[in-house]
């Protein structure tokens, strides 16, 4: 019971009772909703015995407005609840907030399209200018021999050494899958021996480096974006600039250099494990002696096969590091941005890795390597 309502001819007497607390909102609303205005012309409210908090006062004010809208003359007994005055003051001259759904508006859709286009353009120019900043910072660091070996070593460790187990596992499994598939298909032609060609050439030329790059993009591209993004939110990057240290030089260049060192080494590991996995499967599935596997592998692999794969690694490393760092440095304002840009960093770097891999494939084919 939060109120009693008594009808006196055309006058409605409402007495508020008890504690009108925010937790009781639904009950109070229900009781107020049960009051029948029909036939009443005046309403008298005494709130002396009730305690109203802000929510309670808002409910009361809302009720009073409803009553006025229904044509009742409303009178409030003194003492008026003090919180009611607060709410009235806070709502005075304020239009009621209206709900309208923006995206249903065609103008909004056009505006959104325009925004996206401009944003895309900004991102493009931002990316190009970031590339320029990295080049300048990298070149000056190189010329002045300020390569920050400790920082670079840390990034080689973080992006390379700690990734060895997962990269090895994936390389092993992929070469096993490749050998298994090859054995199934080639076995029909009695060409089991070509499984070795398939595995060794496939792993060395393409899969070793590509899968490693994708794993590293997921691991380290996201880590770069998240680290730099959190530093950006925490104003640490502004602090570096204010101290007179170029954030690109101390944060981006060591990550870039670290990854350029780490990714080829990881690719080497992936290649080795991939060859071992292929050999083990050939041995187990095709009863091929390991010596024969090695002999066949030697004749299948041209002198360039390994280098064609490994040469792509530093390029992929650049793409991943630049995407990750650029997205991280672009974080502004909120933690949601951080999440969005970290996702973007991974998606973009994987996209660029695969795109550039395709370009490499075409170029190598034209060069007949």
């Amino acid at each position: 019971m939060y109120l009693t309502a008594r009808r006196d001819a055309d006058q409605l007497n409402v007495t508020l009772l008890g504690e009108w607390r925010s937790q009781r909102f639904p009950d109070i609303e229900a009781e107020l909703g049960g009051i029948d205005f029909s036939g009443a012309r005046r309403m008298r409210i005494s709130a002396g015995q009730a305690q109203l908090d802000l929510t309670g006062a808002w409910v009361l004010r809302d009720f009073l407005e409803r009553a006025r809208a229904a044509g009742l003359a409303v009178e409030l007994d003194t003492p008026r609840p003090s919180t009611l005055a607060l709410v009235e003051r806070c709502q005075s001259g304020q239009p009621h907030p209206t709900h309208h759904i923006e995206w249903l508006d065609p103008a909004h859709a056009v505006e959104g399209l325009g925004r996206r286009a401009v944003l895309g353009l900004h991102q493009l120019t931002g990316g190009v200018s970031f590339l320029g900043r990295i080049s300048v910072a990298g070149a000056s660091a190189l010329l002045q021999l300020r390569l920050r070996p400790v920082s670079v070593a840390r990034h080689v460790y973080d992006t390379g050494v700690t990734a060895v187990p997962i990269v090895s596992l994936i390389a092993f499994l992929i070469s096993v899958i490749l050998a298994y598939m090859g054995a199934q298909q080639l076995g029909r032609f009695g060409a089991n021996i070509f499984v070795v060609d398939l595995v060794t050439v496939g792993v060395l030329r393409e899969l070793g480096v590509l899968l490693t790059a994708i794993i590293v993009a997921g691991r380290s591209g996201s880590a770069f974006a998240a680290e730099l993004g959190a530093m950006q939110l925490n104003e640490e990057i502004d602090a570096l600039s204010a101290i007179g240290v170029d954030p690109v030089e101390v944060l981006v260049v060591p990550r870039l250099v670290g990854l350029i060192i780490a990714l080829p080494l990881l690719t080497l590991v992936a290649d080795l494990i991939g060859l071992v996995g292929g050999g083990l499967l050939c041995h187990a599935l095709l009863d091929m002696p390991l010596v024969q596997y090695l002999n066949r592998a030697q004749s299948a692999i041209a002198s360039t096969t390994f280098w064609v794969g490994i040469v792509k690694a530093p390029v992929f490393a650049c793409l991943i590091a630049i995407c990750g760092c650029f997205c991280g440095m672009s974080v502004r304002g909120s933690s949601r941005e951080l999440g969005r840009l970290t996702t973007l960093a991974v998606v973009q770097s994987i996209f660029f890795v695969i795109l550039v891999d395709a370009v490499f494939a075409v170029v190598f084919m034209e060069l007949d390597i």
């Binding site: 929510t55 808002w58 607060l86 806070c90 709502q91 304020q94 009621h96 709900h99 909120s334 949601r336």
Partner: protein, 254 residues
């Protein structure tokens, strides 16, 4: 008068470092209780202990006689609707605008209609002295003073009886700080709040606090404002009668 909040014999240790060594504190209904202490004296740790964010190594925290550590999850949840907290840096949710920030505790604790949520959030935003336009702004678009006010609006969202303010005026210019003090005084009077604030600001202490607790040597010395100013403890003397203290209101108590 009943103690709204009672801290008894709280011990907090980090490894070998003892921050609180049997700290007692009582906050009564309707007062503004200021907590002061040197940097690293454990003011924020005390607040975290009271809020249940940190379990003390020993001792008890009681809200209206109910022991915090003995409460069930449902009781704790209900307790959280009875107090509001502002954090030092505001701790507004950066992906939500001010209005959504204020609505979040309401959504968690109250059953309100969408219209009531919107309007009540706006009432809080206006109540703390922010313009209505600020409601749709994101924390990154607000100035330091506005962030403090928005955080206060969020703390008031579910009509708490107890308000914890962690360094409410730090980082504000003296005029904004004084305005914030006035706001706290005004809200305390109008909404009959009990306020516990951690502060370093001597002006704030003299303008708003009715009682003050000083954390020294892991204990708390609490007294009325007049009493604490005359306390012979050397740190307290230095605090109120040091160069900065006596230049302001520090001499008032003597």
């Amino acid at each position: 008068m009943a103690a709204l909040l009672e801290v008894q014999g709280v011990v907090n240790r980090f490894g070998a470092q003892v921050v609180h060594n049997g700290l007692d504190m009582q906050v009564h209904e309707g007062e503004v209780f200021g907590i002061i202490g040197g940097s690293g004296a454990g003011k924020s740790v005390l607040l975290r202990t009271i809020l249940g964010l940190r379990r003390p190594n020993a001792g008890s925290v009681r809200f209206l006689g109910h022991e915090l550590s003995a409460m069930s999850a449902a009781q704790l949840h209900a307790l959280k609707a009875s107090y509001g907290v502002t954090f030092q840096e505001g701790a507004l949710f950066s992906s939500l605008n001010v209005s959504q920030n204020v609505q979040l505790p309401m959504l968690e604790h109250l059953r309100l209609s969408a219209r009531a949520l919107d309007e009540l959030a706006l009432v809080r935003v206006r109540l703390v002295g922010l313009p209505a336009e600020a409601a749709s702004k994101y924390p990154a678009q607000l100035s330091g003073g506005m962030i403090k006010r928005a955080a206060l609006a969020r703390a008031l969202a579910v009509d708490p009886v107890l308000l914890f303010l962690d360094e409410p005026t730090s980082g504000l210019d003296p005029i904004s700080a004084a305005a914030f003090d006035d706001l706290v005084i005004y809200l305390r009077r109008e909404l009959k709040l009990t306020v516990v604030m951690i502060t370093h600001d001597l002006d704030t202490i003299f303008r708003t606090c009715s009682r003050v607790g000083v954390i020294v040597d892991g204990h708390m010395i609490s007294d009325t404002l007049e009493g604490i100013v005359q306390n012979p403890h050397p740190w307290i003397q230095a605090y109120f009668h040091g160069e900065r203290g006596s230049a302001r209101g520090g001499g008032r108590g003597t």
